[in-house]
């Protein structure tokens, strides 16, 4: 079997400016932050980002890498409004496709199933239709004759997700209470990059966790990247919770200062800078 392990740099080398990139997790939960940081170290820009948005969107927005965002919300969870996303939106910095949470999920499902759309009972009557004039409706061919929104497939050039464990071949495992939508992101994408806390032997995956925790299957995965603490500062249960203190720092610090202190080096430099900051707080 193909060994797909690679570095964060090798993973983002597979991306190009102008691509449509899906980012897994949800809000400030299990975001592939190490991969987003690696992306920030490249010159890649003009991205269409598809995400249940959190600080992944905030970082890319602050760095001016987004041409268009497809989302239902952007939040830091414990801090309801994402400050960098807000600032970018209030400056009109990029285009927005604002969908309902369920429309977004069915859009991913349509893409994963190679369908052009899926019908949903959500969106009509709301301003989601007004602000997305390209959205179309579809009428049931059966006797009910009901009208639904035809959510277009959210097909992705690439997906970035972060899981708790994976093997070298791309079998990915979540160990927390919620898988979020990471399998759908991978299945909706032409190339999927799975970072994880730890790469383990295949047999280790089911030693202590049930087989149902194997969320992502290897035939959808292009690269496996071991990035310990790689979801930081978002949560990655049960390996670690959200780094609330650091998230507050992120939210309160002017972007250039934050980027200069934490994002000017590689991932190891980032993790060391975070540790040093925590030491200072003691």
């Amino acid at each position: 079997m193909t060994d797909k392990t690679m570095t964060p740099e090798e993973a983002v080398a597979g991306l190009r400016s102008g691509m449509t990139v899906g980012i897994g997790g949800w809000g400030s939960r299990r975001k592939p932050m190490a991969l987003v940081r690696a992306l920030l170290r490249t010159g890649i820009t003009d991205l269409t980002v598809v995400s249940y948005g959190g600080p992944d969107v905030g970082l890319l927005a602050a760095a001016g890498r987004i041409r268009e965002l497809v989302t239902a919300f952007v939040t830091l969870d414990s801090i309801p409004l994402e400050p960098h996303y807000r600032a970018a939106r209030e400056k009109g910095a990029f285009a927005l496709t604002e969908l309902d949470e369920a429309m977004f999920m069915w859009g991913l499902r349509a893409a994963a199933n190679r369908l052009p759309f899926l019908p949903v009972r959500a969106g009509i009557g709301s301003d989601v239709m007004r602000v997305n004039p390209s959205l179309r409706t579809v009428t049931s061919p059966y006797e009910d004759g009901e009208e639904f929104v035809a959510v277009p497939a959210l097909r992705l050039d690439a997906a970035l997700v972060h899981l708790n464990r994976a093997d070298r071949f791309g079998n990915g495992q979540y160990l927390g209470p919620d898988p979020y939508f990471d399998d759908l992101f991978c299945e909706a994408a032409d190339a999927a990059y799975v970072s994880c806390e730890q790469v383990v032997a295949t047999a280790e995956l089911t030693k202590e966790a049930p087989v149902q925790s194997l969320l992502v299957q290897r035939h959808y995965v292009t690269g496996v990247i071991e990035t310990p603490n790689g979801a930081h500062f978002t949560s990655c249960a049960p390996d670690y919770g959200r780094d609330e203190a650091f998230q507050r720092l992120y939210a309160a610090t002017p972007w250039p200062d934050f980027a200069a202190r934490f994002l000017s080096g590689d991932e190891k430099t980032y993790q060391r800078a975070v540790q040093a900051w925590h030491e200072e707080q003691k």
């Binding site: 239902a72 949470e101 949903v120 919620d178």
Partner: protein, 247 residues
């Protein structure tokens, strides 16, 4: 707080929220916000014992916290469309027909203030009963017309046709001042109950549109001694409700 102290405004709000789920049967109570969360657990522990509750993340839990099921976001979003759920959402803006906005203030293309985004408000309002909780009743929230329709109101549902109205219902809006509903011929907002100590005039002044005010407006009922004890000693011993509503 002593169990004998009279109910606070926040405790009336908890009771008014709890009442939202009365008689709902075996459905998921999906409260967003502190006071609705306490209200849902109060209802589950007292008069609506069949309600399903979550831990706020991916587990279905009994009121005492015992897990009884798995409800990650993907299943939650699908459960919405099955309709066995009554959600109580927040609202940055609400208008007289129950249109709700949590997305942004100002022109959507370049908002004066970006908020959360529509989240699940469109799917919620078209699929299961959706009530609202407003901890600070003011003309900034209760506006003539919302800037971005996230949650669908009665007028927009009617205009969108049978697929939109089929499962659409907004049972009530609970605020720090009162309970509102849409029990009028045109489904415009009506004052349904006042929390003790609040006058109809106060509500009128805090509302940015003409509200239907019946001749006799009842008061929100008192919590029973048992309910007060549950709220104060079991469900919210740290008094988080008071922080959301204020004294």
């Amino acid at each position: 707080m002593s169990a004998a102290a009279p109910p606070t405004r926040a405790e009336y709000c908890v009771v008014a929220c709890a009442e939202t789920w009365r008689g709902n049967g075996e459905v998921l109570a999906s409260p967003m916000g502190t006071v609705p969360g306490i209200g849902a657990r109060l209802a589950g522990r007292t008069f609506s014992p069949d309600l399903l509750l979550t831990d706020g993340e991916a587990l279905l839990v009994r009121p005492d916290g015992t897990p009884e099921g798995w409800l990650p976001y993907r299943r939650h979003l699908e459960m919405v469309t099955g309709g066995r759920r009554h959600v109580m959402m927040g609202a940055s803006q609400l208008d007289r027909f129950g249109n709700q906005n949590i997305s942004c203030i100002g022109d959507w293309r370049r908002p004066a203030r970006q908020l959360l985004g529509v989240r699940g408000a469109p799917v919620n309002t078209l699929n299961n009963p959706t009530s609202y909780w407003v901890p600070k009743h003011s003309p900034r929230v209760f506006v003539e017309k919302v800037d971005m329709v996230s949650g669908v109101g009665y007028d927009n549902a009617a205009a969108a046709g049978p697929s939109a109205t089929r499962h659409h219902r907004i049972p009530r809006v609970v605020t720090n001042l009162c309970v509102l509903d849409f029990d009028t011929p045109d489904h415009s907002m009506r004052l349904a109950a006042l929390h003790p100590g609040v006058t109809a005039d106060q509500v009128r002044q805090a509302t940015g549109f003409a509200l239907t005010v019946p001749a006799d407006v009842p008061y929100t009922r008192d919590p029973s001694p048992g309910e007060l004890r549950l709220i104060r000693e079991v469900i919210d011993p740290d008094g988080l409700r008071e922080r959301e509503v204020g004294p």
